[in-house]
C-alpha cells in the first residue's frame, strides 16, 4: 500500500485526504501573496533609507516606483477575488468570539480547550479582514500618492497624512503577514501543502477545523 502512494498522488486526490482549497482558491491566494510581497519589498525600500537596498533587488528605485502602484492594483483585485470565493466562510460566529476569549490556549498549543472551529478559525478570519480592509485603505491612499501632481498646491499638506495612513495600513498588514507566514510554515504542519497541493489529512482537519471536517466528512470530498 505504502509503495503505491506516489502513483496515486500523481493521478488524483490522495486516499484519506480531504480537499482543502480548490485550484482557483490556491491560484488567487498565490497571486495575492506574490503581488503583496512585491509591494512590501518595494514599499519598505521607500519607507526607510535603511531598507532602500531592497529596491535594488527588484530593479532600482525608479523601476520600483513605477511598478509598485500597478502591482498594488493587482494585489487589490486578487484580494477581491479571494473575498468573492471565501466570503461565506469568513463571517464571525459566536464560537469565534468564544475562541477569541480563549486565544491564549491557542497560543500555548492547548487546542483541546478551544471551541470547535469551522473551515477557518477566528484567527484566520481576523487576518483575512485585516488584509481585506487593509487593501482598501492602501488602495485609496495609494491612488493619491500615485499622482501627487494632481494635488493642487493648497492641498499638498494632505499628502503626509495620506502617506502616514498608507504606511500605518502597510505596517498593520505586515504584522498580520508575519503571523500568517509563521503559522502556516512553522506552527501548523500541513498548511503549506494545503495551499499548494490542495489537500489535508483527516488528522489535520479534525484538529484545526473540526466543524468543517464533520461537514465535509459527510459529503463527497472524503474518499
Amino acid at each position: 500500500m505504502g509503495t503505491s502512494r506516489h502513483a496515486v498522488l500523481r493521478h488524483g486526490p490522495p486516499i484519506h485526504e480531504i480537499e482543502r482549497y480548490t485550484p482557483a482558491e490556491r491560484i488567487a491566494h498565490w497571486v495575492t501573496a506574490g503581488t503583496y510581497v512585491y509591494c512590501m519589498i518595494t514599499g519598505l525600500g521607500f519607507f526607510t533609507p535603511y531598507l532602500y537596498w531592497l529596491v535594488a533587488i527588484v530593479g532600482g528605485g525608479a523601476t520600483a516606483r513605477f511598478w509598485h502602484p500597478i502591482v498594488g492594483i493587482g494585489f487589490v483585485l486578487a484580494n477581491f477575488y479571494l473575498h468573492h470565493q471565501w466570503q461565506q466562510d469568513l463571517h464571525m460566529t459566536p464560537e469565534d468570539r468564544e475562541w477569541m476569549d480563549k486565544v491564549k490556549y491557542y497560543i500555548t498549543n492547548e487546542d483541546d480547550l478551544l471551541p470547535e472551529q469551522g473551515r477557518f478559525d477566528a484567527g484566520q478570519k481576523i487576518f483575512y479582514w485585516v488584509m481585506f480592509y487593509g487593501a482598501i485603505v492602501l488602495l485609496l491612499s495609494g491612488i493619491v500618492m500615485w499622482f501627487p501632481e494632481g494635488i493642487s498646491r493648497s492641498w499638498h499638506w494632505v499628502l503626509p497624512i495620506v502617506v502616514i495612513i498608507h504606511e500605518a495600513a502597510a505596517l498593520i498588514t505586515i504584522g498580520g503577514l508575519i503571523i500568517h507566514v509563521y503559522m502556516g510554515v512553522f506552527v501548523v504542519p500541513g498548511s503549506v501543502k494545503a495551499m499548494t497541493v490542495g489537500y489535508v489529512s483527516r488528522g489535520w482537519a479534525m484538529l484545526h477545523a473540526p466543524l468543517w471536517y464533520k461537514k465535509v466528512a459527510n459529503g463527497r470530498t472524503v474518499k
Binding site: 521607500f46 498549543n109 499628502l159 508575519i178
Partner: protein
Amino acid sequence: MAGGTLQIKNISGHAGPVAGANTSRDYGVCKLIDTTTCIGCKACEVACVEWNGYPFRQTTFDNTYQTMSNTEWNYWNLIRFNEHENEDGTFQWLMRKDQCMHCEDPGCLKACPADGAIVQYSNGIVDFQQEHCIGCQYCVTGCPFDIPRFNPETKKVFKCTLCSDRVNAGLEPACVKSCPTGCLHFGSKEDMKDLAEKRATQLREYSSYKDAGVYDPEGVGGTHVIYVLHDAKNPEKYGGLPSNPRIPILVQLWKGPAKWLGGLAMAFGVIGVAIHYLRYGPKEAEMKEDNNHGNQ
C-alpha cells in the same frame, strides 16, 4: 568655494607659523536679490534657460508682464510681477525673481526617500541628482517654497541648481552674470548678508521704504538665496513668499518618529514569533489526534 579643501594648514620644515593657517573661511555661497532695483527685464530668465540648455518657449499672457503663470520643470527662474496698490493709492510693481532658495535645512531633502537623489554641498547649494530620482514627488510636499517641478515624461523632478556647475568652476550663476542693473549679487553668505543689510539700512534711512529689510528666513535655517524687500514685514505680497517658511510639521513627523516606530514594530513581530516557536513549537495534528481519541 572652489578649491577650498586645498588651503594650507601645515608645512614641513617651516620656521614660524604657517601663513593663513587657523583662519576661518566662509565657504557658504549666497545669491542676493535686491527687489528694489529689479526692473523686470527677464535677462535672468533667458540666461537660466540658455545656460541649462532648455528650449525657449512661448509665453503665456495672463494680463501681466509675467512670462507665464508658474515655473516649470525646464524653466526654473521666473520674475513674478505683482501689481501693488500702496496705502496712498499709488501704484507699484513688486517684482521678485522666484527660484530655489537653497535652504540650509532643506525640506525637499528631508522628504526624499531615494538614496542620493538630493544632495546638499558644503557651500550650501541643494542639488537634485536626476539619475537617482524615483519620481515620487515627496520633495514637492517637503518644500515650503513650492519649487520642485515634475517632468511627467521622464518622471524626474527638477529645480534651480544655483548653477552648481558654474560655481564649482569659480564662476557666478548665469542669472547673476546677466543682470543689467546689478540687483543680483553673488558671493559668500557673510558678505551678501552684510551687503543686504547695508542696502536695507540705506532704503530705510534715505527713501520712503521704512519697512525695508532682508529676507533670510530662520525657519529653514536661513537660505543661500536672500532678498532685500521694500516691505520685509509683508513678504506674501511678493507673489506668495512665505513670511515664516518651515518644513511642514507633518513631514517632520512622517520622516522622524513614524520611521523608527514602524521599524521597531516589525522587528518585535519577527522576534516575537521566533520566541513563540522556541517556547511552544508546532501543533502536531497526528499526535494530538492520538492523545484525544486513542488509536483510529
